[in-house]
């Protein structure tokens, strides 16, 4: 069973990386770019059969390690 997880910085947290990427893209001539924010992406494969249980586990992983909830939000998707 496979899941994808995206971890993004909360709205009110400065995203230095996104900002630099944005500036670079703009200086490369991408002038219609309004905003870009950068986060992390994980592809997780579990040996489970029960989708609900599995999703719960992935959620656990996010809380315990993958995201720092002080500054980051996360989303889990089954793929």
């Amino acid at each position: 069973m496979k899941f994808s997880v995206t971890v993004t910085l909360k709205e009110n947290v400065l995203d230095p990386q996104g900002k630099v990427v944005q500036n670079t893209l703009q200086s490369l001539g991408m002038d219609n770019l309004k905003s870009i924010r950068q986060g992390k992406y994980f592809e997780i494969e579990l040996n489970d059969n029960d989708p609900q249980k599995a999703e719960k586990k992935v959620d656990d992983m996010c809380k315990k390690l993958l995201a720092n909830l002080i500054i980051e939000d996360y989303k889990v998707n089954k793929i």
């Binding site: 009110n12 947290v13 230095p16 992390k40 390690l65 002080i70």
Partner: protein, 225 residues
Amino acid sequence: MNSSVIVFPGSNCDRDIAVALEKMQFKNQMVWHKETKLPKSDLIVIPGGFSYGDYLRSGAIAGKSLIINEVIKSANDGCLVLGICNGFQILTETGLLKGVLLRNKKLKFINEDVNIKVINNDTKFSNKYKKNQVLKINIAHNEGNYFTNSDHLKELNNENLIAFKYCNESGDINQSSNPNGSLENIAGIFNSKKNILGMMPHPERMVDNLISNTDGVNLFSSLLN
């Protein structure tokens, strides 16, 4: 004074801090991260480096290690804890210190001698410094851009929990003396009980005139005081 230096896979300033502590007459022990008990210590140091390669987020994985539970217990019992650079990042990941260290503003690793100002000299870690004294200390990090929420920032200011701020040679704290974009030029903070200090600059690199200067010495002698 007894000190313990925690060694994670990927720590790389562990020897440096041990040398500095021994030079300052601490009785030091190295503690491997897989151990489950800490030796009796008055000071626990989490050294700089790239624990677990800084993969995922700097400090995140070390923050989940076995030994860290012992560190948290000791810290809650009032033991002195010093986190330098990656150690600071680890302390924020464990929640012993609030806030986070984001990527440097310019997204580049920075190794430089910078000036920092002693903001609070009335603590176990800083009593040998003068208030507002300007030190020259080496920094070396990719994620030193300190960030916290506005409530905590207020608390830091109101309760005098800021240890050091980046400044220029004459002590001015402004954007041009901020190497990494950190909030209010913060270079190091205490927890509310002031028994934990996290700082990005490396005091252990500043204890030998032949190599650099001795501006770090007083941090260690404050602890012995």
